[in-house]
C-alpha cells in the first residue's frame, strides 16, 4: 500500500495505491495524521484509482480521519473508486459522510 499526496490550495489529494486492509491500515492512518497536522488543509480528497482492495479496516481508517477533520470544519471526498470498493462504501454508509465526486 502506497500513499502519494499533492496539495491543491486547501485540498490535500491523497492517492492510495495497492490494498487497504488490517495489515496496511495503521501505516496509512499514521501517515495521513502526520500530513493532517497542517491545519490549513480543509479537504482530504481520496483518489482511489489505484486502490485494488479495501475491506472494513479501510472504513475504520477513513472514519477516523473524517472525525479529526470534522472537528475543525473539514471534510473528505472520494473519487475513482472501483465497483468493489464502491460497494463497501455503500453498505457501510460511508457515502453519508464522505462525498463522492466523479
Amino acid at each position: 500500500m502506497k500513499l502519494n499526496t499533492k496539495r491543491q490550495g486547501q485540498v490535500l489529494v491523497a492517492q492510495i495505491s495497492g490494498e487497504l486492509d488490517h495489515h496496511t491500515a495503521p501505516a496509512l492512518a499514521e501517515h495521513m495524521d502526520a500530513l493532517l497536522q497542517d491545519k490549513t488543509i480543509r479537504v482530504l480528497q481520496l483518489d482511489l484509482k489505484n486502490l485494488t482492495f479495501m475491506d472494513s479496516s479501510g472504513i475504520g481508517v477513513i472514519l477516523g480521519r473524517y472525525k479529526r477533520l470534522r472537528n475543525r470544519g473539514g471534510r473528505i471526498c472520494v473519487t475513482n473508486e472501483n465497483k468493489a470498493i464502491s460497494k463497501i462504501f455503500q453498505i457501510s454508509g460511508l457515502y453519508q459522510v464522505v462525498e463522492k465526486i466523479s
Binding site: 482492495f53 472504513i59 481508517v61 453498505i91 457501510s92
Partner: protein, 159 residues
C-alpha cells in the same frame, strides 16, 4: 459436476490476510466467477481472517484454519480459530458494534460478510474459539473471461 476441497492452516498474523484472500480466491476461481463475485469472496475472507487475528487472538498470534469445498456452482468456506470466542454472537453481528472502538475498528466485519456472501453462520464458544461458515453461489451466467473470449471470437468471425 465439480467437486473439490482444500484445507489451509496458517499463522494468525496480519500479513497473511492478503495470502488468505488470494488462496481462497484462486480456489474459488475454478467456478468461473464474475469479477464481482470473486471480489465478494475475497473481501468476506479478509473480514473473517481479520476477526480471528484481532478479536480471536487479540493480535497475539495463533493458528487459523480455512477449509473450502466446491460443489457444483457453490463454494462453502469455514474460517476457524481457537481464540477467545464471542460472548454474544447476535450483538457482534450488529452493524458498527465493536469491542475495540478505540482501535478504529468499524464494527462492520460481519455486516460485510453477510452482504457479500449468500449465507453466514457463526459458531463460537467463549474460551474455545470461533468458526465462521459462509457460502457463495455463482450466477448461471458465464464468467467475464468466457464472455470476453466469445466476444473476441465473434469479432474475428465478423472481420
Amino acid at each position: 459436476m465439480l467437486e473439490n476441497s482444500m484445507r489451509l492452516e496458517f499463522l494468525a498474523i496480519s500479513r497473511n490476510e492478503s495470502f488468505a484472500r488470494v488462496a481462497v480466491g484462486s480456489f474459488f476461481s475454478q467456478l468461473n466467477p464474475t469479477l464481482e463475485e470473486l471480489a465478494d469472496v475475497k473481501t468476506a475472507i479478509s473480514e473473517a481472517v481479520t476477526n480471528s487475528i484481532v478479536h480471536g487472538y487479540k493480535n497475539k498470534g495463533g493458528t487459523i484454519i480455512i477449509e473450502c469445498v466446491l460443489l457444483n456452482k457453490s463454494i462453502a468456506v469455514t474460517v476457524q480459530d481457537y481464540g477467545v470466542g464471542i460472548e454474544n454472537v447476535e450483538q457482534a453481528k450488529q452493524p458498527f458494534f465493536t469491542t475495540m472502538p478505540g482501535d478504529e475498528r468499524s464494527g462492520m466485519g460481519f455486516t460485510v460478510m453477510e452482504a457479500f456472501m449468500d449465507g453466514l453462520e457463526i459458531v463460537s464458544r467463549p474460551g474455545e474459539g470461533t468458526t465462521v461458515s459462509m457460502v457463495k453461489t455463482v450466477a448461471e451466467n458465464e464468467g467475464e473471461e468466457e464472455q470476453a473470449c466469445k466476444q473476441a471470437v465473434r469479432q474475428d468471425n465478423a472481420g
